[in-house]
Symmetry: D2
Subunit: 363 residues, 4 copies
């Protein structure tokens, strides 16, 4: 199609005739129009519009990272789009404040008419979770039922198909595994790192033992925690220990990918790692914001319906609250903080490695 393009009218472009006539109040149908049902519909429609946008962004990043070789140009674009998801998530959370201007008594004016519809049936939100990397087996049961039993057969099929695709988690894991610099000949980075860690833990033990402000019991508690830390550290260096953690469900990210993510976090000041570091911290942002959203959503539900069953037949509050924690995707990245050591204790990069990590922008 060539210029001049046909003139466009704002209202037609946005399909406002359709959009603005898609709010049908069940309470009005039943002959008892409830003022606040309009808000209930509009806000859920706004949520669904934003879910569509999140799917659009995540899907595009997935496409870029599914390639055998990820084009370096795309890292910048991916970060930008994931940061857009972050901004949208802030809106999702803040919108809860709007919903909370509806009091529980106002909700009761139309709640019965909606039975058994429930936000639980938002297929798009499930798709967002799946694309981001939530695994089917990770999901909590909801009143003894799997999450997809409450949606239509078509929607069930769609969810199952999407679960079989690769997720953002998968493609980022593979991209991390391909990170160079992890295993250069004669560059025994992980051995140096392990020595630095051991030195640090020894120092920490001394600090605890000589801390006059602690009681013996307090010292014991803290020393035990340091022991536990040492055990956790071992898995960073030994692939088989890491594999055990994966088998027992305590880890998900592969050993190689974990080491790569740790390397990026430690040397993120190297020019070539600026954007990879951004990418990882943006994934953590998104994970944290979904967790916050789930938790805030649970609080809102508690406030709105107490501990009665929800429109979908759930005691929603307790269920939702549990998902906040259990449906996280990137805890492995968040837990990385446990394995960082201070810059001052970091092994220096070998000059030839550092050269590969830098570039000269200025002339």
């Amino acid at each position: 199609m060539d210029k001049p393009y046909p003139p466009v009218y704002y209202s037609d472009y946005l399909q406002l005739d359709t959009l603005l006539s898609s709010q049908k109040l069940k309470s009005a149908e039943a002959g008892h129009p409830a003022h606040d049902e309009m808000l209930f519909i509009v806000i859920h429609q706004a949520y669904e519009l934003w879910f569509k946008q999140i799917l659009h962004e995540m899907g595009s990043v997935l496409d870029m990272f599914e390639k055998e070789t990820v084009d370096e140009k795309n890292i910048g674009t991916a970060v930008w789009r994931l940061q857009r998801v972050v901004e949208i998530q802030k809106i999702l959370i803040d919108q809860l404040r709007v919903l909370e201007t509806m009091t529980p008594l106002d909700f009761l004016d139309f709640r019965d008419y909606l039975f058994p519809a429930s936000g639980f049936q938002s297929v798009q939100f499930r798709l967002v979770e799946i694309l981001f990397g939530l695994r089917a087996e990770q999901r909590l049961l909801y009143n003894q039922f799997a999450y997809h039993t409450r949606v239509s057969p078509e929607h069930q099929a769609l969810l199952k198909r999407t679960e079989e695709r690769t997720s953002l988690f998968d493609v980022v894991e593979r991209w991390l595994e391909r990170t160079p610099f992890l295993d250069l000949p004669d560059f025994r980075f992980w051995q140096f790192y392990r020595d630095a860690v051991n030195a640090m833990l020894l120092g920490d033990r001394d600090v605890v033992r000589s801390n006059a402000t602690l009681t013996d019991l307090e010292k014991q508690v803290q020393l035990e925690e340091l022991d536990a830390t040492e055990v956790r550290f071992a898995a960073v260096f030994e692939a088989d220990k890491h594999e055990e953690l994966i088998q027992s469900g305590k880890r998900r990210l592969s050993h190689t990918a974990t080491q790569a993510a740790l390397f990026i976090s430690l040397y993120r000041d190297q020019p070539i790692l600026h954007m990879p570091h951004r990418l990882l911290s943006t994934l953590v942002d998104i994970d944290e914001l979904f967790t916050t959203w789930r938790y805030r959503h649970a609080l809102m539900v508690h406030r709105m319906i107490g501990t009665k069953i929800g429109t979908g037949g759930s005691s929603g509050f307790h269920y939702l609250k549990s998902t906040a924690e259990n449906h996280r995707v990137w805890t492995d990245l968040i837990d990385l903080s446990t394995y960082l050591i201070p810059r001052a204790a970091l092994p220096a990069l070998r000059p030839d490695v550092e050269a590969q990590l830098g570039f000269r922008y200025g002339s």
Copy 2:
């Protein structure tokens, strides 16, 4: 309709099939799909959904206040619904951050396809402004054209019809004019108040004259401001001076309504005035938030398209920036602060008046 009501499915209830298929990218139609056009459509649709909700809330408050006698029960409901508008406005403002994740270069990827569509053509936003109280004659011209010349004939007719209805401004003005306590026999409130004001201004002049840290020039500037303040105060007490200000366009709210609003602001601690005071301050909140929204919107447009013409043919930034200030509705209420005097200088209420303003809730 009686229980049990027919079962409702979330996706049908929200008409998601329609809603989520209402995003047609013009860039895709033209054969050059631009990733960010989806955001552009989705965010504008989200805006329009929220405008619909604001119209729903404002319309319902208008209905309550259009009655000859406003039911006292409804004041609480009105405040609650207007505060919901406030919460929605915060979302409208925050959504601009999402839009700003689209860079100017990304916008250029599809901007040409949208010509001459423009947010300027949002009929719902015009309706919100009209319902809130913006008068047609107050609107700034846009590239020499009135605002309604850019919308379809049907939309023009709808806007004109709405302009002829009463607005929130009108009904609240009339409600204020009916406020009791302003003119009780033998209660010469405004005379007492005027005396208190004069005493205060005399004191302020003394403070300026004796302020050793000010230069003579600074003192002169400040004394002139106090003179101007005195002149402005006169209009509070003299209906004909107030009328002059109305004629010259410096005021809009009637003299009686202005005095009522001032009375409510001064004695808002009296139980019976708690909610009326909330109502007035919520209207000021809404006005302030629309002003903020217009200004932030102008900044966003500046950033997105610089000083080039917009999709609707406007140099939107300068126009939008001017509307921020010129399209305010409740400046009369905001300016009331100019006429407040400290509680300590306030005339005491006559006991019989105070009794009428109170009630006993506790046993």
Copy 3:
């Protein structure tokens, strides 16, 4: 002191010389200045300033409500000040985003120098919790230690003294207990209400049984929930059942106060109940925002230090996450939603009761 008051200089008034020289970096003292330690100090100082303000507001409301008869004028002021607390809490939550611009690696640059200081030692935040109504016995242990063992003896004494004072919870409970209209002669409100509840539950059971979209198992689950709901309802009507719930730790608010709060929620449209209803919902807002703050704070700590011990020797994340739920104060008010019935099913108020709940503001 009389006018003119001595001239005031902005910088002196705010004691900026002191304020802005109160940031001493431990890392600088140790000879290794860490850029981000400034942020760490400044943000914690900003938090402490806001805690001081919250104490100021809560303390003033406590004073008003400690009186034998709460002056009706003060309800408006109390709501206003508690809503200010709400606005401050939003800042507390949003500030976490600023803190999260410090990466875990940046934190490590100075973390060791701070040992064993910890936000856990914020005495003001403990005071806020106590004033709001958190009971000492409700607090979770922290690595097997009570919360006050980590602060100085003077601070311990201050905390204990404050724990012995009345809290906002106590005074609001007593104010609710004095609510009139609950026990008028010949007005058997609670009997009518109980009948309405029973009718509603019967209807709900019918809806479940006749819902063709549910499997037998799903029906059974939902019917069991309705049985549980009925049991919970009984406590609303029977003081001894309510007392049992209090004894078992499932309730805290007295039976009379609970009934009053329910009455206010149900008839909040009556003019005289507008402000009491606002008061209750603002307390719920504050409780919800503290819960959100604790949870978000826990997520931030997780991200910053992983599962290592915190500067105060705690595995802070798990502890903080648990407090989010366990340190709530007003769950009894939130749970009220469970006991609301739709307006349409509400018993009509007797005309003489309604007359007492109304007032005429308009002439």
Copy 4:
């Protein structure tokens, strides 16, 4: 200093004894304690703490960029720190909502005691403006007086000294001027770009002329705007035209720096330009947020004191509103949007240039 470091107590570390005793109410001194004066002090102190933090961040970025050769590693750190400024600015803006919980009448309870102190005297905010790049000659007069006449002689001297230093604007301008790739031998980028621009403008004129929905008058208006656009474009290509704009005050950024910024905006997808592009857009974010802050601050002042003179003797609202626009620093970057052309019309980079802009991260 070596481990173990002396134990640190939270309250001592933050100097809370000092911090929390730095709120002295003038109203209390005068014998009429005003509840809300505490908020007034606390919020201004919170502002000053954040200003200190902003100075800390901006100062550190200035240091990095003042070097003859900016270390590439530092670009990432600079962006990170400037994005922290962005997050702080959001808090500055949101805090206004807290201040607005103080009503004008509450402010009057203590306003007289503060005379002539004024937020206008915040030396730190002036320093922030100067460091960011606001020039002394750009500042609007305030009641006919220059901004620094209202502060103490020591503060005046400090401001003048800082004005004589280089600002963030200066160092970023110089860094941009050193951008490579702008003038490679035989790579006539700007000639290609100019041709592309001319083709685009020709097309736009055709679209206007053939747009059947426009009246003749509307077409004329739009064609005149396109003419003006063409004139503005000329300055991008011709250094002397650009110099004229600088002389007339319409531009500030040098011609070379402007071309570099445009180049970065156009080719920001090239790996090596990812971070430079972030840097520029973060500077625009900061500028936009200061502008928003000033405008919101003006609205708050309007609401709080109407059009009376402020505590510092100003009719603050109108002055503050004007500074929102006039005190912008990076309008040249924002105006760049005017000179972008769609990616599809961009000249392709010569392969050897593109190679220099890329790097290979993956193995």
